[in-house]
């Protein structure tokens, strides 16, 4: 290995340290998606549920270790190592910090979400093991370039199983329609609104490189209805707009090429590769 050239950028220095220390690449090398008060356009807002009229600032998000399973689709794998670091930020507000929801369900610790305060009630939001997606977060790119993200989002009140709300989350940078409320057990219709948004209205996001840093960013919109079993706002529609940034190059990047790896190390691109031909 050409050590001098290997060390010439923080990227390769960190890679070398990671390899020496662990024998494998550290998590820092994966792609990431984030949304925080200090990121481009802030986190975004939660509307509703139902007649709760005040838009609520969304919690911060850091999704680590996005893995591309094809040219445009990526997955955040399920990963949990219990109380060992890293833990998700919101666990600090819901001790103990053990990698678990209050009913013992394991959190996907690649999806690091901050505490969510809605109408004065604090929740630990998380993606967790099991469910439709086996604890993964999955993103798919449509032919028109819009990206959708799906996961089982859990809101944990911290009081055990009865305080955990599991919401199927479908977000997109395209367009969605604010849903109707669920009728209660007696068939009474709920409130036909998600805060300031009315059922039947449409909301849309966007995707591109709007902050011109060379990486994909945008706004996801999501809609849903609180489950009837929820202790708060049962059956009520909600919507949200989530601004995000990523470190995914807008022009794409070539992955998995030994020749390019050689080049990055300062070697002829086809070192040892000529043997391959």
């Amino acid at each position: 290995m050409n050590t001098t050239k290997t060390m010439r950028t923080p990227f390769y220095r960190l890679l070398a340290i990671g390899l020496i220390a662990t024998g494998c690449v550290p998590a820092a090398w994966a792609n990431n998606l984030w949304s925080a008060p200090n990121s481009f356009l802030g986190t975004g807002y939660f509307f509703g549920p139902g007649a709760y009229m005040t838009p609520t600032p969304l919690f911060p998000v850091m999704i680590r270790n996005l893995g591309f399973v094809s040219k445009q689709n990526f997955v955040t794998p399920y990963w949990n190592n219990g109380a060992a670091a890293p833990n998700v930020k919101s666990e600090k507000d819901f001790p103990p910090v053990d990698g678990l929801l209050s009913d013992g369900t394991k959190i996907n610790e690649n999806v690091d979400l901050g505490t969510f305060t809605l109408a004065g009630v604090r929740f630990l939001p998380a993606v967790a093991e099991g469910g439709t997606f086996f604890g993964q977060q999955q993103a798919m790119t449509a032919a028109d370039g819009n990206v959708s993200m799906d996961m089982d989002l859990l809101l944990d009140l911290g009081i055990g199983a009865k305080g955990i709300i599991r919401i199927p989350f479908h977000g997109t940078t395209g367009m969605l329609t604010v849903p109707e409320p669920l009728a209660d057990a007696k068939g009474a219709p709920g409130v036909k609104q998600a805060g300031l948004l009315k059922s039947g209205e449409t909301i849309s996001g966007r995707i591109g490189d709007f902050n011109n840093d060379g990486f994909i960013d945008g706004t996801l919109v999501a809609i849903g209805v609180m489950p009837l079993s929820s202790p708060v706002y049962p059956g009520q529609p909600f919507a949200m707009s989530r601004n995000f940034e990523t470190d995914i190059a807008i022009e794409g990047a070539v992955y998995g090429a030994p020749k390019l790896t050689n080049k990055a190390y300062g070697l002829p691109a086809d070192a040892k590769g000529k043997e391959a031909k």
């Binding site: 990121s39 399973v69 439709t132 395209g174 909301i203 590769g273 031909k277």
Partner: protein, 291 residues
């Protein structure tokens, strides 16, 4: 392989997300008796003669960076898909090794391994240092390393489940001495079949079959743990030939199809187009989400 591929795709369609279990899109690493150069050879442990390696197909290999590939941990218990090795060594496949508590990463479909006349279940085990994942990294000089927690299961319960760190490389590996010899204890066997401790074996990475896709061979050496009921402390080696459906020149990922203008047309037709709609909907005194 094909039918499993389709099952994965069908499963994904059922839940409305084509990425679930990702079979349709992720790339695949495979090594079997009919693939280029065959599956490979296992040497030892100890005095045991060389054995043909078991078949393996690793599905859903994902890029986490330009130089790193991960096979995510996936286990859905007794439901399909189960790994071929478990199907052939167990009457009722349940997704676990025979200790009943170590889950198998079912993305790594490993066939049964016949070692010295005995069928052994080999797989990637969950819960260890790699959390059940298989991780590969590209280095310089066409070197790729592959690490995982590999488990050998004799099928007799916890006593016969041997977990070992797997560190494979396409470069070079040296056969170690037995752990007994390393500790100065008598009785060690400093060989793995025909290989003697100190012998070096080499792998390679490139496109040797000329089909435009990455292929090569990975070499591994190691010792059975002293706690193993089977050849404790003895060295072993293996050479694994593999093919992939990953282009040798790499894959461009993350580039969005379509144009910004096309996407904007959709946005313009919505009642509220975000993030611009925030200004219409969010009172100025609510600022917790903004820079």
């Amino acid at each position: 392989m094909k039918s499993r591929y389709l099952k994965f795709s069908a499963c994904a369609a059922l839940v409305g997300v084509s990425l679930l279990s990702g079979g349709a899109d992720a790339f695949t690493v495979f090594s079997n008796k009919s693939s280029y150069m065959n599956a490979g050879t296992f040497y030892g442990p100890g005095k045991l003669p060389a054995s043909p390696l078991f078949d393996v197909t690793i599905y859903n290999v994902a890029f986490t960076s330009a130089t790193t590939f991960v096979t995510p941990f996936f286990n859905n218990g007794s439901k399909e898909p189960n790994v071929q090795g478990e199907i052939e060594t167990s009457e009722r496949p349940d997704g676990y090794f025979s200790d009943g508590k170590t889950p198998i990463n079912e993305n790594a479909d490993v066939g049964p391994f016949e070692l010295n006349g005995t069928k052994v279940l080999v797989g990637i085990g969950g819960g260890g240092a790699h959390q059940g994942e298989q991780i590969s990294v590209l280095l310089d000089h066409h070197t790729m390393i592959m690490t995982m927690d590999i488990v050998f299961d004799m099928g007799i319960g916890a006593a016969g489940v041997v977990a070992a760190p797997f560190y494979g490389t396409t470069r070079e590996a040296t056969l170690p001495k037995s752990i007994q010899t390393q500790l100065g204890i008598e009785g060690g066997t400093d060989r793995a079949g025909a290989l003697k401790s100190g012998d070096k074996i080499h792998g390679r990475l490139g496109d040797f079959n000329g089909n435009g896709m990455l292929d090569g061979s990975i070499v591994v050496t190691g010792n059975m743990p002293l706690t193993s009921v089977f050849m404790p402390g003895a060295p072993y080696a293996l050479i694994r030939y593999f093919e992939t459906d990953l282009p040798y020149d790499g894959e461009t990922v993350g580039k969005l199809p379509g144009s910004t203008a096309d996407r904007q047309k959709i946005a313009d037709s919505a009642t509220y187009a975000f993030p611009a709609a925030e200004a219409r909907l969010v009172p100025k005194n609510i600022d917790g989400a903004k820079p």
